[in-house]
Symmetry: C2
């Protein structure tokens, strides 16, 4: 890390990825620009093109990096337990903690929506977490349909808690993250306990009458 101020030493690529994650967290993917990232790092706006073909390639690289760090945060938490319910509760806690403590990274995970067909690296980076999660759920259910139902419910509830946390619904105090993680873990436990109610073969609960939504206002033209 010799001479400072200029990037003559070849880690501009990594610096660009880190800065992209920062900027996306600050103002969203849409407002992210290569030019601003270059300015913040202190290089010319043309410098990134030595490392990435275009803006989207940098975004894809940032997303892959975010998933790698996400996996690194979640997988050790799962391995601390043997019981599937405990493992899922631990994953849920780790998921929400990651959202709260690594907010920039977390926002990139779902905020940078790129075509996963064009960037298969993203799907690959996502795979380890998905796999660990599904294997826990399968240990608690009977057949693929039941597993899907429980997995969907836990995934939705966990992601939802993370969103509420980032939205400030758990307050701004230091313990907001742990509070949210705890609530999420309990929701996961509750869903597991009542998983028979989730099963598609059960009689449908009340309230299924379809509701016809209001028509959109027609643009005058």
């Amino acid at each position: 890390m010799g001479r400072r101020g200029r990037y003559h030493h070849g880690d501009l690529r990594a610096a660009l990825i880190d800065t992209a994650i920062e900027l996306i967290a600050e103002r969203g993917v849409g407002s992210f620009s290569l030019a601003e990232a270059s300015r913040r790092i202190g290089v010319a706006v043309s410098a990134p093109y030595a490392h990435f073909a275009d803006r989207d390639e940098l975004l894809a690289a940032a997303t892959v990096r975010a998933f790698e760090l996400f996996s690194a945060a979640l997988l050790p938490a799962v391995r601390q337990f043997g019981d599937p319910t405990d493992r899922l509760a631990a994953m849920t806690r780790a998921y929400v903690r990651f959202a709260g403590t690594q907010r920039p990274l977390f926002e990139v995970l779902y905020g940078a929506k790129l075509d996963k067909t064009r960037y298969p690296q993203i799907a690959a980076a996502e795979q380890p977490v998905t796999g660990a999660f599904l294997s826990c759920v399968r240990a608690l259910t009977d057949g693929d349909t039941q597993a899907d139902d429980l997995a969907t419910a836990i995934e939705a509830a966990t992601h939802g808690h993370a969103m509420l946390l980032l939205d400030g619904d758990f307050g701004q105090a230091d313990d907001a993250v742990e509070l949210a993680a705890e609530r999420a873990a309990r929701a996961t436990q509750a869903l597991i306990q009542s998983r028979h109610l989730l099963a598609r073969s059960t009689a449908a609960p009340a309230g299924k009458a379809p509701y016809p939504g209001p028509a959109l206002h027609q643009p005058g033209r």
Copy 2:
């Protein structure tokens, strides 16, 4: 309605709101521009300034409109039932259906994050749904803390299902919306049934580091 493609009749304001919602749904708030909205409608880029002071004022108006239509979709669904559990299941269904069938509007609800201090109209437009939801939850719980816990879990799970639906996790077929709405309603039922597990006074579930809050009595052993 249409008069030869020009706006000489005064509904440009409404057209701008509708077009803003479209554009935000297509490429996110960050990429939304007044200029593109004007172009799509077919007016000069300066025309919007006769109706909105700046870009943010149009975004705020679009958000208010989205919340109004959201309320109009949810409240009738709730009123079809008397039992609080049925009401919550119906709200959950309506919430997910709205996300799936009025996707542009739904994306504006959570995508256009504006300072609600500067735009109190947004908080006001949000209030009717929040009120109906909380009153159902309170009918099922004992005290504000329990109500908060159940409300948070249901809110998180419901929003999570909507996100998964928009992300394509329920497939692209026509029945994806109903499938997601059904799964979400069942998750809500499951959470209600196991709400004793959500309560903060219950012994903490396994998964390391129980929430270290000040007012928490020790788990029985």
